[in-house]
Amino acid sequence: MPLFIAPFIPPILPWDSIHPQIIHFPIVLLLTAPLFVALGIVVRKRGTCFAIAALCLMGLGAAGTFVAVESGEAAAQLATRTPEITEAIGRHQEMAETTRLVFTLLTVLYAAILFGPALLKRPLSPRASIIVQIVFFVVYAGCLILVADTGHLGGLLVHKFGVRAMMP
């Protein structure tokens, strides 16, 4: 690695402290994915490339939620507690687990929509394929409220209750 880059690379934090450093990655990935789903529907030529890109973003985002939930639990064990903070952490954690479950299922569903017909050797008509993808897009966009709410609850913990991850 060129030496001049070294000062710009952030330190890799211990697991207990890594939550604030990684949490924004799944949020951005899950929020960006529907744009590519939409492009996959709208762009006639090579629309499949956008759809596969959307699936990759969803997959990485869903994987990121697993890391986020686990690292969040580790960070919460070191957070200074009051009854209000414990309650707020509980709500954030529950919402994060729901988000993880929903987006994991949505990712599997989208993969099934893309590859299922070919695997089952029962291809959908172009019209049916577009309708299925539009329905998926609407459902996915609706579920994004879970990401927003989880992020909001995390923001409240930091900015309202002053909860910070312990930094080395």
Partner: protein, 242 residues
């Protein structure tokens, strides 16, 4: 070629932003005060925690290892004391209060074990000197328990946590945090029991659930969660105490 330069620029700006972010996070760390021994006022409280909570007025904050040893001694004494209080409550016919004392005793044992683990990792030695206080009436025992738990939750553990953060010992912060949160819950349960003492008279005990990881203690009717709200241990791992 142009694309390549563009990617490099993007990477460098990303790295710069992350680096700045990292700096800001470190700068915001509240536990970055210089470590120094200090003494905190704790009216009606003792340095050896609950066991003798009412005897001495001040808490001496030493190194984290010393604080862990103090906490271990306090938790071990509390465990023994609450078991005695439970026997006294049973004799007086307050079986529900006896259940609460037994549940709290189990939680104190969890805390003592957690402190002991960290002490061993820090190459220290755990030692408890059990000194049981005089066993009085259940009402008075509840008063003593409330005083001890409140002292630990509001004075002792917050000071120990601050010190452990300053010494950058996350394992110690975790065990103190678990204990502090559970003690807050115990104080609340004892206060409720004191207020409704007359209603709690009777031969039938009451079920409490105790987390085997952090000692969080709840009544049966409040045992509605799937994961411990403090340490996220699965609720099915909780132990019932009656």
């Amino acid at each position: 070629m142009r694309d390549c330069k563009g990617s490099r620029r993007v990477f460098l700006s990303w790295a710069g932003v992350c680096s700045l972010g990292g700096f800001r996070l470190f700068a915001a760390e509240p536990g970055s005060k210089p470590a120094s021994p200090e003494t905190k006022g704790a009216p009606g409280a003792a340095p050896e925690a609950k066991g003798a909570a009412a005897a001495a007025p001040q808490l001496k904050v030493g190194s984290t290892l010393e604080n862990l040893q103090t906490a271990f001694n306090g938790e071990s004494n509390a465990h023994a004391k609450y078991l005695e209080y439970a026997k006294a409550a049973d004799k007086e016919g307050y079986a529900k209060v006896a259940s609460l004392f037994r549940a709290a005793a189990q939680a104190e044992q969890v805390h003592a074990d957690n402190h002991d683990d960290v002490i061993k990792r820090l190459k220290g030695r755990s030692q408890a000197e059990i000194k049981l206080p005089p066993i009085k009436s259940t009402a008075e025992n509840l008063d003593d328990a409330i005083k001890g738990e409140t002292y630990e939750a509001e004075t002792m553990y917050p000071a120990f946590i601050e010190k452990a953060k300053a010494e950058n010992l996350p394992e110690a912060v975790r065990t103190f945090n678990y204990a502090q949160t559970a003690e807050t819950g115990h104080a609340k349960l004892y206060k409720e029991a004191k207020e409704k003492l007359a209603e709690l008279k009777g031969p039938e005990g009451q079920a409490y659930y105790v987390c085997p990881t952090c000692g969080w203690t709840v009544k049966k009717e409040d045992f509605t969660f799937k994961k411990c709200p403090v340490c996220f241990t699965a609720a099915k791992m909780y132990e019932q105490v009656k």
